[in-house]
Symmetry: C3
Subunit: 129 residues, 3 copies
């Protein structure tokens, strides 16, 4: 069985010691995405959950696209919020506006204590080629 | 590869913008289950971790059954608790009473900050047809 | 489809009501690993994130080895920290020293509120035979 560890050209390295994605037998796991600017990764994160959700999803879309995938390939998604009660509804509004209804993956959303670089949101997903 | 997004008749919509389950090639991912009453989803959640664990597992069983699956199909489970230290043992007692020993999936249990609708517990799973 | 629930000889039972690993069709899910001493599971956990990360990864390696697997089989990993801000960099240093760069799985790391037995860290993974 071949396990392909994707380190994508044109992307900054993962914040963690990890490839951008790992693929086996058509299943593609993505490393957690957060709202950094992929073209200027050291700049401060955008302010507010709406902007952070949008950037996180755009980053995820860009990773998927670089792998020849798109929203239609999504199977499951996890969403992590550091201010769940305050941000849950606003995150969902952006999420539902960006991911078409007929592509939506299963989802679990957790309120967590802390995320990389103090982000308000992180998301990871499993897709299927 | 066909990705089937299950929106189950007779169930209230997911609390999040997501189908109830997504299936590919025999693998079935479930959206996070929490202790709402599936037949009266807007009523308050039951009180206490024992009741909430039981309702959450009964809801999961009902989703699995609607998909033609059961406990024997479970592969992995994640349990999220908002009062881990207080509730961990009582949750485990209910969990072990409901899921037969020879069906149990892998498990990770996390203490989290907040869950949808202020639930004490949420669980998601991956099953295999 | 055969689902194999691995309860490994020579290992203490999982802290939770779960097998050590569940395998289907070459996919192997591991129950969450934490920094107990597998040969003396009731002794106190080691002090500090560096030691706890190392023991957790050594325990995971031992489970993988008992299944005939190794780091090269890793697909995805989740890391849970109870003191994210304090421990993230030190955890990553140990992680990157133990898991060779060409074997690294996708990763998501979350700051959580509480873990089993008050551990500073827990990790779970999905591997492919």
């Amino acid at each position: 069985m071949t396990i392909t560890r994707h380190i994508l050209p044109g992307f900054p390295p993962s914040a963690s010691p990890s490839p951008h994605a790992v693929e086996v037998d058509g299943w593609v796991h993505l490393t957690g995405q957060f709202p950094r600017d992929l073209d200027a990764p050291e700049t401060p994160l955008p302010l507010g959950i709406a902007a952070q959700t949008e950037v996180t999803l755009r980053n995820m879309a860009r990773v998927l696209q670089a792998l020849g995938l798109g929203w239609t390939n999504l199977v499951s998604m996890r969403v992590y919020l550091t201010a769940f009660e305050r941000d849950y509804d606003a995150m969902n509004a952006v999420y539902a506006a960006i991911i078409p209804a007929d592509c939506r993956p299963t989802r679990t959303c957790l309120g967590v204590g802390r995320l990389v670089r103090g982000a308000l949101i992180e998301m990871d997903c499993v897709a299927r080629r």
